[in-house]
């Protein structure tokens, strides 16, 4: 294993009873990368993250985190990981400041100055009890607890779900500050695509327990395009473009989303069908929707794309 790889997942499968949730997942997280994990609810994102963290045992396949097996992770490696899950269970009877001190005491490398800075930056009341805090404030507190020891690997499962827009922006800023350290890696799952677009350098789409797309964000945006094709005469029912994410034909018009549009491809389409081809850029949200549109076509395309 390359020393610059923080996480390496290969052939990971996970089933709960008869239900298979993860299917042959391969994923590598190099040092310094920020990976946005996208997918619908129930796609398997949280299960994947929990397997990487050693909170769930894989059914088959292998996972290495800091070159160790997560199920038997050493405490040294654990102290290099920060995690915020979806269910936040803090200590409702404790005061915010006390929780931070308490959790910090478990870490030899806890940076209490940084933790205090985050508390004030995120407007968390140090002298109030945790119990009555709003969900969003509890989420922010959980983030402080996950960041205080300045982990090398930060894993966040829907970190901004309960945050208001200004808190989300503050949080993204903090995330970017962390990302600017080339030794630290971040993996976060979300369905708020605009957050991914700001912060992530790589996007991984999970669909029905499989990774259907894994690519640098820029490459994805440069490549995935929607083509509006207007041919001079009706297009045949068999009209298709290889690897298309979606293909709809109506008369002499076709709407096609392709993973890798190139000039030569466009010229070819224009020449072959005597057509006018309009190319549209797609936002991550639109790409998300394209990837989740027509099921049967997707199934054909996934093998190539992943």
């Amino acid at each position: 294993m390359n020393t610059e790889e923080v996480v390496r997942v290969s052939g990971l499968c996970k089933s709960f009873e008869a239900r298979q949730v993860l299917n042959e997942i391969d994923l590598t997280i190099p040092e310094g990368s920020v990976v946005g994990l996208l997918g619908k609810n129930g796609a398997g994102k949280s299960t994947l993250l929990k397997c990487v963290l050693g909170l769930l045992k894989p059914t088959s396949g292998s996972i290495r985190v800091f070159n160790e097996e997560p199920w038997h992770l050493s405490s040294e490696s654990k102290s290099r990981i920060g995690y915020v899950g979806q269910d936040i269970n803090l200590y409702p009877w404790m005061k915010v400041g006390n929780v931070v001190d308490y959790v910090g005491s478990f870490y030899p490398n806890w940076n209490s100055g940084f933790a205090r800075k985050l508390l004030s930056r995120w407007d968390l009341p140090v002298d109030e009890r945790v119990g009555p805090l709003s969900q969003g404030q509890q989420q922010k507190l959980a983030l402080v607890l996950a960041l205080g020891h300045e982990p090398q690997l930060l894993i966040l499962d829907e970190p901004v779900a309960a945050l208001d827009p200004s808190a989300r922006r503050e949080f993204l800023r903090t995330l970017l500050e962390i990302a600017h350290d080339p030794q630290r890696s971040i993996v976060f799952s979300t369905h708020i695509t605009s957050d991914v677009e700001r912060v992530a350098d790589r996007v991984v789409f999970v669909k029905d327990g499989r990774i259907v797309y894994d690519s640098p964000l820029d490459v994805m945006k440069d490549g995935v395009k929607r083509l509006r094709i207007s041919a001079s005469s009706n297009l045949p029912d068999t009209f298709a473009i290889r690897d298309a994410l979606r293909c709809e034909v109506r008369g002499r018009h076709a709407l096609v989303a392709v993973p890798d549009a190139s000039d030569s491809m466009l010229r070819e389409l224009e020449a072959r069908w005597d057509a006018e081809v309009l190319v549209e850029d797609l936002s991550l949200e639109e790409i998300f929707l394209e990837l989740h549109s027509t099921e049967p076509l997707m199934a054909a395309a996934t093998g190539e794309a992943s």
Binding site: V34, R169, L172, R173, L176, A179, H180, T193, S194, E197, R198, V199, A200, D201, L217, D218, K221, D222, E280, D281, L282, S283, L284, E285, E286
Partner: protein, 131 residues
């Protein structure tokens, strides 16, 4: 040294990758004369912080513009706007200009101008640029 009003605006949710948006804006600023040879661009760090985007994105934009010859890296200082260079054959450079001329001519025709009147407009703009 650095114009403080100098700012970029990016839309992360656009279909155009952020690094391309930045490249387009620098190109536009150079084309419009807002940026001239020798001007210093804000640092990668500063730009990333201001826009709340990943540093790698900014770095990619600046590097691409450098390899296109629009920017020059100056050790210890940052990126400066490079002096305009006439590279390529005249034919190639004309070809470069054609896509910009196309909308001009189309608009002129929409306004009902004759070919000669459109050329008059171009000539008067040229006269304005004479140094």
């Amino acid at each position: 040294m650095l114009d403080p009003s100098f700012q970029f605006a990016v839309n992360p949710s656009s279909g155009v990758p952020i690094y391309r948006q930045l490249m387009d804006q620098v190109r536009a600023m150079i084309a419009s004369g807002q940026l001239v040879a020798g001007d210093l661009l804000p640092s990668v760090r500063q730009t990333a912080d201001e826009l709340s985007i990943n540093m790698m994105t900014v770095s990619k934009a600046w590097s691409r513009l450098e390899s296109e010859g629009l920017l020059e890296r100056e050790r210890g200082t940052g990126m400066r706007v490079a002096p305009p260079l006439a590279s390529g054959t005249v034919r190639e450079r004309k070809l470069d200009l054609t896509p910009l001329a196309d909308p001009l001519v189309t608009r002129g025709q929409q306004l009902g101008l004759t070919d000669e009147q459109i050329l008059d407009v171009v000539r008067s703009v040229l006269r304005g640029k004479k140094r």
